[in-house]
Symmetry: C2
Subunit: 200 residues, 2 copies
């Protein structure tokens, strides 16, 4: 078997519009609410640009608020189904720092900020990334009801299992703003303007 | 905020030794047991080469056995914690085919072959990749007991939830061979020769 033609690498890349979106954003967002507002804004633009679902994530230094990476769901633009916002933001943060463990020695504590509770894939991705805080705009069944995305079978005590591993969960930081993004997505979906890409 | 210096992409790449390992492997493995034997062999070499844990995966055309991609756990060599064997193999298959949905129209049915039941992250990654069969050397608590890796909180009826989404689960295809790989890994771990990279 030849290797290639078997692919030997793949890339997850952010769209160009992210640069415009970040141009006026400071390097440091000391107020966590500003970090959550940023992910809601990126999520709202992401699906309109055709990159993937209405999801965004940011990795920040938990104490200072220095932004380490931003991610959006790029399943459609990258052609890779694991390229959810969390996987993208965490991979970009690890690539930037050159460390697989964002909680490693001599590193500041890192947090992942997301516009809704992670799906089952990103639940695991967050768990082993080294983050010490998960900051969520919201959680609950509304994401599946509104967007129609399958979030996968999750255990009930998902937040406890994060806490047990030393990852603090802050939930409900901007719930209504997050839901507004999903409602707009749903309107476009009902109007037949977009594709939901869950393969199964 | 400038973008870069924020990273705008990251890459998941296979190690060079994969080419040697595949040189004598036919393009097509009609017998599923040969596909499972391949993932066990790749898993056994992967941790010795220092790329990551003792885990490998293959995407194949389910009926013919044509190999579409191979993946190994490259968390340590890629520096990205989501780069488990399944995420790597699925991403490489999607990159090769230029399709995010391996179960899309005008494509043959695809299967993911793994040397043990996926962790919670790869549970979701497999679920939305478009595969129609998940073929496992084995499943059960032994992987955590032997390797000490955290596989994450999984629901009890994980296989049913795959089946409910049209993904057939074939389990126990080469259980003893898979366990032999984990036992060798454990011996090296107990001898202080390797790092388990679960951040939490």
């Amino acid at each position: 078997m030849e290797f290639p033609p078997l692919a030997s690498s793949f890339e997850i890349a952010l769209p160009d519009w992210i640069a415009d979106e970040l141009a006026e954003v400071p390097d440091v967002l000391p107020d966590r609410q500003d970090r959550v507002a940023l992910v809601n804004r990126l999520a709202a633009r992401n699906w309109r640009e055709g990159n993937g679902g209405p999801f965004a994530a940011v990795v920040a230094e938990a104490d200072t608020g220095r932004i380490v990476s931003v991610g959006v769901n790029v399943v459609l633009s990258s052609g890779v189904t694991s390229a959810h916002a969390e996987v993208t933001a965490l991979g970009l943060a690890q690539a930037r720092l050159g460390k697989w463990n964002l909680g490693g020695e001599r590193l500041p504590a890192h947090e992942l900020v997301v516009n809704w509770r992670p799906c089952v894939q990103c639940y695991g991705a967050a768990m082993w990334s080294g983050i010490t805080t998960l900051a969520l705009a919201g959680s609950g069944p509304e994401v599946e009801e509104l967007t129609t995305f399958d979030e996968g079978p999750m255990i009930d005590n998902w937040a406890e299992e994060f806490e047990r591993r030393g990852i603090r969960v802050l939930d409900g930081l901007a719930r209504e703003d997050a839901l507004a993004v999903f409602r707009e997505y749903r309107e476009a979906l009902d109007a037949g303007e977009i594709t939901v890409y869950n393969a199964r």
